[in-house]
């Protein structure tokens, strides 16, 4: 027989033990250096640990954190769609998806990037079953910086080591003009010796490089010893191929002779390799819904352009475009209707802007376009053309059609005077003015807009 008093003592002891165990487990979760979130399939947060709140709270405008999809809407608009279209009963929905945060909405409405802020988050989403998702969040800003460097080194090695069938060897003068003719140029590009004297931009599709960027690459070659660039190239007959081009300065070039070759350009047709690298590039740099660049690609390209800008000042413009009353489209036609409108907007954007412009989806219904070597007035004119096109086109959807309009804010940097944060902030202020002014309109930034506005969740969010 067991003494009942002892049994009670035993029970109390077990309870104490359990409580201590529970507390230790809780603290283990509190202190975990990565964010963990459990949600319902609609993103509703069921359980969440502190690091998640640390990373997500600065993104919230309303001080709440109840739904993971909403919490990330401004920076990862594709999440809801990604989960909805995941057909398997369980499994990894995304693994280490990179979410770029520098956005006017971050830091509570466009303040300059604060010191203690991550720039890139990594998100993995695991579907547990029909009702639950697990998310892992972490700050990967530092890794991304390192990766970017490695990618450049990789491209360089690729350029050197990949077996190639043919290449064109082109001498360029100090201005980037082709200065000699040889057979290899004819074999790869189909040009004749009439091409001598043209800028090497002649190998690019129309609108795919600006005169300033032609010089940027030469300066980069001067500084680094080489400049490497992969992308679409065009032959004399207009047909395109995927090319890899490396420019390097010729040592001891004759500087007193203006026509003497100062650079060597090696241009190779790597179309064979292109499929693999294009698929890789697409999954990492394209918005899955609209096919335009994603935030990651946009911020990388924009930072690069503005860096070059500081070295050699020139105007650069930024347009932020937002679909008007987008919530109403979603309410009336459902998310598939909203998606159709966004796809259409992506197409019109790509067709309206130049190939050298970087068109990207940076938020749910918000797009950004960076226009190298463009003035405020020039960018505003293109934006106005876009606005008219969108207004005049109906989106066929589900037996009916969707009419919608866009508002846009335009800002420009005259030289190297503005950084990306500032440019984004100004374009955002102009966009806000366009929304407040009645929508379906373009506004250019002016200094009267920079007065600090306490932003209510007013016109922008409608």
């Amino acid at each position: 027989m067991i003494d009942p008093v002892n049994l009670q003592a035993f029970g109390a002891d077990a309870n104490t033990h359990l409580a201590a165990e529970h507390e230790a487990l809780m603290q283990f979760l509190y202190l975990s250096p990565v964010g963990l979130v459990q949600t319902g399939v609609d993103g509703e947060i069921l359980m969440i640990n502190p690091i998640s709140a640390q990373l997500l709270m600065p993104l919230q405008r309303d001080g709440n954190l109840l739904n993971l999809f909403e919490a990330l809407e401004g920076v990862a608009p594709e999440l809801r769609h990604l989960c909805a279209s995941f057909a398997r009963p369980n499994g990894m929905i995304c693994d280490g998806l990179q979410i770029h945060l520098n956005h006017p909405g971050y830091a509570g409405g466009g303040a300059l990037r604060p010191r203690r802020s991550p720039q890139v988050l990594s998100l993995s989403l695991l579907k547990l079953d029909d009702t639950r998702l697990m998310a892992v969040l972490s700050d990967v800003s530092e890794q991304v910086r390192r990766e970017r460097q490695l990618r450049q080194n990789d491209a360089w090695l690729n350029a050197l080591l990949t077996s190639i069938t043919d290449y064109a060897l082109v001498g360029l003068d100090r201005e980037g003009r082709i200065c000699d003719w040889n057979e290899t140029i004819g074999r790869v590009t189909g040009h004749t010796d009439a091409v001598v004297g043209s800028s090497y931009a002649v190998f690019y599709p129309q609108d795919a490089i600006t005169a300033e960027q032609v010089h940027d690459r030469l300066r980069e070659a001067d500084q680094n010893g080489w400049s490497l660039d992969e992308g679409a190239r065009v032959r004399a007959d207009g047909s395109q191929f995927w090319g890899s081009a490396m420019i390097s300065p010729i040592p001891d070039a004759e500087f007193d002779e203006p026509d003497a070759p100062a650079y060597c350009l090696v241009l190779r047709d790597i179309s064979d390799k292109r499929d693999a690298s294009e698929t890789r590039r697409k999954s990492a740099f394209c918005d899955h819904l609209t096919g335009v660049a994603n935030r990651r690609a946009f911020f990388e390209a924009a930072e690069l352009e503005l860096q070059r800008n500081r070295r050699k000042p020139r105007p650069t413009a930024l347009v932020l475009i937002d679909a008007d009353h987008f919530k109403r489209i979603n309410d009336r036609h459902g998310h598939p209707g909203g998606d159709a409108a966004l796809r259409q907007l992506g197409l019109v954007l790509t067709a309206t802007f130049r190939q050298v412009d970087v068109v990207a989806r940076v938020g749910g219904e918000e797009f950004a376009v960076l226009l190298p070597s463009s003035t405020l007035a020039g960018a505003a004119a293109v934006a106005e053309r876009l606005r008219q096109l969108v207004q005049s086109q109906r989106v066929a959807f589900d037996g009916t059609h969707i009419d919608f309009t866009v508002s846009a804010g335009v800002a420009a940097s005259e030289g190297g005077d503005l950084d990306l944060d500032m440019l984004m902030k100004r374009a955002d202020q102009a966009l806000y003015a366009a929304k407040a002014g009645g929508r379906n309109r373009i506004e250019c930034w002016n200094s009267s807009m920079s007065a600090p506005v306490v932003r209510s969740p007013g016109p922008r969010d409608a």
Partner: protein, 130 residues
């Protein structure tokens, strides 16, 4: 003299009044109190906060606040405000809406951040919002 129970989350000039309360009086307050010293180690932790978080004081006292106790506050909205206040040798008394992850549940709260130049203890006060 003020009694502890007369103090509420929004009482003006709260910092000096908190400083005069002993641990028992602090425990009587109906809002959470976390005090931390110049090295950001937690030196005051009252019952309301302890019960909400599910952590007993021995696990918390003496630990660095922003890394070992409440990493969710280690961003520019909270930690950096205390740092900026210290750098600028100024006072801080601000209330913000926030979400804490008490027992891994998202809980809407108001945070009141208190600091004054030269004060040995700075405070984060926590009150639930509906």
């Amino acid at each position: 003299m003020t009694t502890a129970t007369a103090l509420s989350f929004s009482t003006p000039a709260l910092l000096e009044q908190l400083a005069q309360l002993n641990a028992e009086q602090l425990d009587q307050l109906d809002f959470g109190v976390i005090g931390f010293d110049t090295d950001t180690n937690v030196c005051r932790y009252n019952r309301t906060e302890s019960e909400a978080a599910g952590l007993t004081p021995p696990r918390v006292l003496g630990q660095p606040l922003f890394t070992n106790v409440a990493p969710c506050l280690n961003n520019f909205m909270v930690a950096q405000r205390f740092e900026d206040t210290e750098d600028g040798n100024s006072a801080l008394d601000e209330t913000i809406d926030y979400v804490l992850t008490l027992r891994m549940r998202p809980i809407k709260v108001k945070l009141r951040l208190l600091a004054e130049p030269g004060s040995a203890v700075r405070y984060v006060l926590v009150q639930r919002r509906l």
